[in-house]
Amino acid sequence: MNTVHLSYDLIPVEFRNEVDARRIRGVWIFLIAMLAILLGHFVFTDWLRVEVANRCARLMAAKVGPIIDIRAAAITQSEANLRTAKSIDQIQSARPDDSLLQTLASVTVAAKPFHDDILIDSIDIRLPLEEHLATNGVEPQSQTVAVVDDLVPRVLIRLRVSDPLVIESFLEALRDQPRLAEVDAIVDPHSGDDTQQELTIYAVPQATRVIP
């Protein structure tokens, strides 16, 4: 047919625009729907992957849990064993301590030349190891020592002397003993009579080592 230069079409432009708009909207809706489907697909597959991985991990965790528990128990047990073994080792390796005897012996040795003049009523020995035990191995503090007065290592000798001149010699003899330090004597002024004099000797015993 012949081409027409002028139009006879009486359709208002609005209708054409509407139809075009509808078509374009359709195309867009299609595109958006496709994109939405794609997005949904990706989201779903991603979720599925994560879910599967999670489930796998959970299953693995469920299976591995007891093993971990056993392992933790084993670790705890082995630590306890180690501790026990150490203790056993320490106990086994501990030699009989002769500090007490040594101190006693020192006093005996020092007193031997004067056995006629000196009558030892009592010897009270407190070894330094007790202090260490009391402070649980921590460096002994002055305060602790002050508070726990009983735990101060000491040797307390109560004796009666018939001849006061012997005292100084006895003290010298005691000071000569390597097992005793800071030997000092306090004469009790209220006790005793002319023939006998009571006195207390203080000293610090020197233990060979500290028992843990």
Binding site: M1, L6, L10, I11, P12, R16
Partner: protein
């Protein structure tokens, strides 16, 4: 090698095309008249158009008197549009129905304007339509009034009513190719459908017709011509219509046609030719109407008659041999629908 490639590509394109247009296209012309809708359907068989079927739908409810009298208020207009949309068949499944529509001639307003009067004329048409029962803006369209003149023919319709109709028809499933003035469709399709080249085509209907002198100019391929409304037949006439009881109306019609022809000739600045006047429309089937008009204008008159080999014999029965003149507009519109859609895209 290259030829092989070319063959492959063309065959691929051809296959794609056949896939895209799998649904058969039917070309439908819908002629809306005040009292009836006439539908003609053209089908293409091996690219050759065939008049497939015709449907005639009455808009009168319960055989009441002419509705033409009833359309006198915006409400009744709305009523009429709704009735049209109710009566129109839905677009059939399996087909793409490409439809061209013509509005009742009383809806159209024609005017001849100068080249630079378009804006003024549009404003005038706007106010005219607003004052009328349409109560809406006007939609106007212009074309050249004559081959050798710069004057324009302006056609105006109500924008709102047209939109309402077209939207409704679109919703019924039709693919609207265009809305054309009936006269234009008749004039431009006359050569193709009747093999006659008319000087002008007069469409005669009880509710007013039109006369159009459109023709393809010898220079170039553009059409130009006049289009005018013809007066309605007095609706008080009852019973069978014959030449005798419509004589006064025929006089008026003849005068209008004569005047239009003379004006057209003056605009075209062409000498008299012996091309016939063509009569179409429901009233063109009245016996001896051609002779009556020919004797009044002293000009050869022909009655619109389809020249195709095949016509739908089953669905339509005609009172006489010129009965199909009533389907002239619908068929012309269907023919218009077969044309590329470029036609409808405006300037």
């Amino acid at each position: 090698m290259s030829s092989l490639l070319q063959f492959l590509s063309t065959s691929k394109i051809a296959r794609r095309r056949s896939l895209a247009s799998r649904r058969e296209v039917r070309y439908v012309g819908i002629d809306l008249d005040v009292e009836a809708i006439r539908i003609a359907i053209i089908r293409k068989q091996d690219t050759y158009p065939i008049w497939d079927s015709s449907i005639n739908l009455s808009l009168q409810e319960n055989g009441a008197t002419g509705i033409g009298e009833a359309i006198d208020s915006p409400q009744s207009l709305e009523c009429w549009i709704q009735r049209v949309l109710r009566v129109l068949p839905r677009s059939g499944e399996g087909f793409r129905n490409r439809v061209a529509i013509s509005l009742p001639s009383s809806w159209l307003h024609y005017e001849i304007i100068g080249q630079n009067e378009r804006a003024t004329a549009t404003t005038t048409c706007d106010s005219l339509m607003k004052d009328s029962l349409f109560q809406s803006e006007a939609h106007t369209q212009c074309w050249s009034a004559g081959a050798n003149t710069d004057r324009l023919m302006l056609a105006a319709v109500s924008k709102q009513a047209t939109l309402k109709l077209v939207r409704g028809i679109h919703l019924l499933g039709y693919e609207v190719a265009g809305v054309y003035p009936a006269g234009i469709a008749l004039s431009l399709a006359a050569k193709r459908l009747t093999t006659l080249t008319p000087r002008c085509v007069a469409y005669l209907s009880r509710f007013g017709g039109s006369v159009s002198t459109l023709k393809v100019s010898s220079v170039g391929s553009s059409e130009s011509g006049l289009c005018r409304k013809l007066p309605a037949l007095n609706t008080k006439i009852r019973g069978a219509i014959s030449i005798d009881n419509i004589a006064p109306w025929l006089d008026t019609i003849a005068q209008e046609i004569d005047a239009t022809l003379k004006y057209s000739r003056r605009l075209d600045q062409t000498p008299n030719d012996s091309l016939p006047i063509m009569l179409a429309g429901p009233l063109a089937a009245i016996s001896d109407i051609d002779a009556a008009i020919a004797s009044r204008i002293q000009f050869p008159v022909a009655i619109w008659r389809y020249a195709g080999a095949k016509r739908p014999g089953v669905s339509v029965t005609y009172d006489n041999e010129f009965g199909e003149a009533a389907d002239a507009i619908a068929l012309s519109l269907a023919h218009f629908a077969t044309l590329p859609s470029r036609l409808g895209k405006g300037r």
